[in-house]
């Protein structure tokens, strides 16, 4: 079981629109999360660069665009990014990053004079289902973990309304109406788990409102020990 930042490639026409006006581009894959899941790794960067070369010719009628592909181990690591690109960065007008939003911004911070554009949308923190190869959202990084009270099932990430006092009226036989009854109702899962543990008293407890300052962006962790939400400490 691993967790990755899940990304999804943007539609090609959107990317083409984004790079309009640039002549020398580097499609930069990330062999971290995006690569592990084969959405934004080296191979995908090569594939995207071929598509862009075709697109530049057919859509933008440009024959001379220079589009190359490369990848780094982790775009969210400044040192790795610097070492990989410092000698060649001058060859490009633009970097098209296939990493998550953190990767895009890391590259942009390391090379502030080169525009870095996102070729993917960053979706969620995914937990992998090894058997099916699917990725599921199980944690929203909300900043205030209550898994101890909810049988190890997170209602913030898994309830469509992130309710603290579910289930709501939108569940039928344990399935959620949001998304067409495909997802399990988190609160019915919680109910069943706590029943199994003989802890329904915990289920019945009224959970008071969150202090939303805890997850107020932008968030920082200083020196690896001091957390601050955007709303203060």
């Amino acid at each position: 079981m691993i967790c990755v930042i899940v990304v999804e490639q943007k539609p090609l026409e959107d990317i083409l629109e984004m790079v309009k006006g640039y002549e020398r581009m580097l499609v930069l894959g990330c062999d971290g999360c995006a690569g592990i899941y084969q959405v934004g790794g080296e191979k995908q960067a090569e594939m995207l660069s071929s598509l862009l070369r075709m697109g530049e010719k057919t859509v933008h009628n440009k024959e001379n665009s220079k589009i190359e592909a490369s990848a780094v181990l982790r775009q969210c690591d400044k040192e790795i990014v610097r070492e990989a690109l410092e000698n060649t960065i001058g060859d490009y007008d633009v970097i098209l990053s296939m990493a998550c939003g953190a990767g895009v911004q890391t590259v942009a911070e390391v090379f502030p004079e080169t525009p870095v554009l996102p070729a993917v949308n960053t979706k969620f923190i995914g937990m992998q289902d090894r058997e099916l190869g699917d990725l599921h959202e199980r944690c929203r990084a909300c900043g205030d973990c209550i898994l101890d009270e909810t049988g190890g099932i997170c209602p913030i990430a898994r309830c469509a309304k992130s309710l603290l006092n579910g289930p709501c009226g939108g569940q039928v036989e344990g399935k959620c109406e949001v998304g067409g009854y495909e997802h399990d109702c988190a609160w019915i899962l919680i109910y069943r788990k706590l029943k199994e543990f003989g802890k329904l008293d915990q289920f019945m407890k009224l959970r008071l409102m969150r202090d939303n300052r805890i997850s107020q962006s932008p968030r920082d962790m200083k020196g690896g020990i001091k957390y601050t939400g955007g709303g203060g400490e």
């Binding site: 309304k161 006092n165 009226g169 609160w187 289920f203 009224l206």
Partner: protein, 309 residues
């Protein structure tokens, strides 16, 4: 306990109460709503005014509740959803409601906004129905907002909540209702049900969890077959009894408009008069008739149950 509203006074007096339902729509004109409320004065003790039902962006239930009370003389149960407002907006609306003379509020979590007519909207859910109940209780009883800040002249109103006897598993739903009772709900009204079996299983569960919230059973006389069929297919977890649906379908084949309408009335009155009489024998404290736009039916049903009671 002090009653601030006619609804609560009637419940405290041990009356078997009737409430109706009004639905403001995407309009600035409330004439139809007010006219729909007028025939129920003296029959229903109060009417619910829905708040963006099924997440449709409609006219404010706060304003509509006020206008119905002012122009129709009908007390309202002001429905308020957490889907669209954070705790500041909810506080503001409760203070506003009290200033306008509204005396009952129904605290709802609210359908998910992605299922409504503006599906790309941001859903809020800063609070849920239990926490909204908790907040209103604090405002009314302690005279403070959710953060404990004092309110100059606190509001005086009653908080109702919803409960769904159709929920499966029912135990989870009942435990949720228990939280709302702990939070301080004054009354509850149920999702639509059609059979005594559901009424009985609900109150059995109440006694198992020692729940004492006065509860009104939700019923839904159906104006025509189309309404019944839509309801049967689209409301999660609720189905219209097959026999009743068939009878309504047959009635829909009557070509004469007046006769068809009369037949629908007859079918509904037959079914629901008997049902309400049975409900009266249970622990229910009344009936919430959710027949929007069918006031002649609601009025007749109430008259019959009362007349022969």
């Amino acid at each position: 306990m002090e009653a601030y509203s006619n609804l609560m006074q009637a419940i405290l007096d041990g009356e078997f109460v009737f409430t109706g339902e009004l639905e403001p729509e995407k309009t600035t004109n409330l004439e139809e709503l007010v006219e729909g409320a007028k025939p129920l004065v003296g029959y229903a003790v109060a009417c619910n005014v829905t708040d963006n039902p099924q997440s449709m962006a409609y006219m404010s239930s706060l304003v509509a509740s006020y206008i119905v009370q002012r122009d129709a003389g009908m007390e309202t149960i002001y429905q308020l959803r957490c889907s669209d407002r954070n705790r500041l907006a909810l506080t503001a609306d409760i203070l506003g409601a009290a200033a306008l003379g509204l005396r009952n509020v129904l605290a709802l979590t609210g359908d998910h906004v992605s299922l409504g007519d503006n599906p790309g909207a941001k859903s809020v859910y800063d609070l849920d129905s239990a926490l909204l109940t908790y907040m209103i209780r604090k405002m009314v009883d302690e005279g403070v907002d959710l953060a404990g800040r004092p309110i100059h002249e606190p509001p005086k109103l009653h908080v109702g909540v919803a409960v769904n006897p159709n929920a499966d598993p029912l135990e989870a739903e009942i435990m949720k209702l228990k939280r709302k009772e702990v939070a301080g709900a004054d009354f509850a009204q149920t999702q639509v049900i059609y059979t005594m079996e559901k009424v009985d299983s609900l109150f059995d569960a109440y006694s198992q969890y020692d729940i004492k919230i006065p509860t009104l059973i939700g019923i839904f006389p159906m104006k025509n077959y189309g309404v019944a069929d839509y309801f049967d297919k689209n409301i999660p977890g609720v189905s219209v009894p097959k026999e009743l649906l068939e009878t309504l379908k047959k009635a829909s084949e009557i070509t004469d408009k007046k006769k068809r309408k009369e037949k629908y009335m007859e079918i509904n009155l037959d079914y629901f008069e008997a049902f309400v009489r049975e409900i009266k024998k249970s622990d229910a404290r009344g009936v919430h008739v959710m027949a929007v736009g069918y006031e002649e039916m609601v009025r007749e049903l109430i008259a019959r149950v009362r007349g022969k009671a």
